[in-house]
Symmetry: C3
Subunit: 149 residues, 3 copies
């Protein structure tokens, strides 16, 4: 599923470089990589392209994501976010800015992105574990206040 | 003010993960964190949401920022920048791309961002100190040429 | 050509901070820095401003970039990407989101960006070398499957 993966250590923290293959879903690929390598506290950045995608906008009243379909080939101008732990599973929080043929942009919380021709993802560990907890007001899993200072 | 903060060392460089709480201003929260931990040379990335925000565009003639108000709930698609030192104080240079309900985007130099429901910020030190100096042409504090090569 | 450059080590990996000077081309400056320091596996982020720029959109049928000129002063809201090796030369894969006076955005694969008043670039090594190979379908040099797992 995933073309290239390097695992490197740096002061105990790992760096993974993943080239997601044509036709793969970016969200699934990043999630599966995090699960396989037990990554629970990381920064993610990526650039590349999507053949089609779906991004979300969190509706404050509905407490749910409005789905925004992007049914065209787009450049992935920015894919940025983090990986934490939510009850033993990797929890991805990834946002994307996508660029159309005329340079105009569309973006949101990344729900789905069919990669074409590549997505070059860099995952850098920043902590052994960042913990998420459900926020009662929104129903979203947010970085928890366990370490509040 | 700030929900979660982790301080980790990696070859002498620190990584801070900050979950900015609802209602807090993102710029103030990042500045105060940098001041508290004496961060003077770092990369910043973040994703999350703002209830309202204000971004700037630097007008070359006026040598000042045009203020662009964003009076709606937006996704923080990308918050990217650096922290340096300007006469003993942390100097933030942070730009943001914000996403509206329809996926359209607006962005600029981040002047103010009222967080809702969260802003997950990762600050990674890249140097003990990056130094800013005032550029006479613009009046802006820019990374200085002291180490020009 | 380049205003400031710091070279720091961290577990064997290097971090370079480059303030690109007014009037310089961002792509050339980053490429030349990578060549000078023999950087072949890195993450790049930057913020700043361009006096004018040109970005690209990869046309799937034509197998080439559509050129999108940006003939105005813009904020560099996000410059994100990676550096790999392509037959002994540094291969940049850098995308940019640019912000206009009204906060609207335009973006694409960065082809050219005339810096004004600054571009603050952070280059962090993530591997000794990431390798690119030409993809027959597109003609693009993509991260290679040599380390496929």
């Amino acid at each position: 599923m995933i073309m290239k993966k390097l695992e490197l250590t740096d002061g105990g923290r790992r760096v993974l470089v993943v080239a997601v293959d044509k036709g793969e879903d970016a969200v699934t690929a990043i999630h599966d990589t995090a699960a396989q390598y037990d990554i629970r506290g990381a920064r993610i950045t990526a650039v590349g392209g999507f053949h089609s995608a779906e991004v979300g906008y969190f509706d404050r009243q509905a407490r749910d994501y409005v789905h925004i379909p992007v049914a065209e080939q787009v450049e992935v101008l920015s894919l940025l976010g983090d990986i934490a732990d939510n009850q033993g599973q990797p929890a991805l929080h990834v946002h994307a800015v996508l660029g159309r043929r005329d340079g105009s942009t569309v973006g949101g919380h990344l729900l789905r992105g069919e990669v074409w021709p590549t997505l070059e993802v860099i995952i850098t560990e920043v902590a052994a574990e960042l913990t998420k907890q459900v926020d009662p007001e929104t129903g979203l899993a947010l970085l928890s206040g366990a370490a509040r200072q």
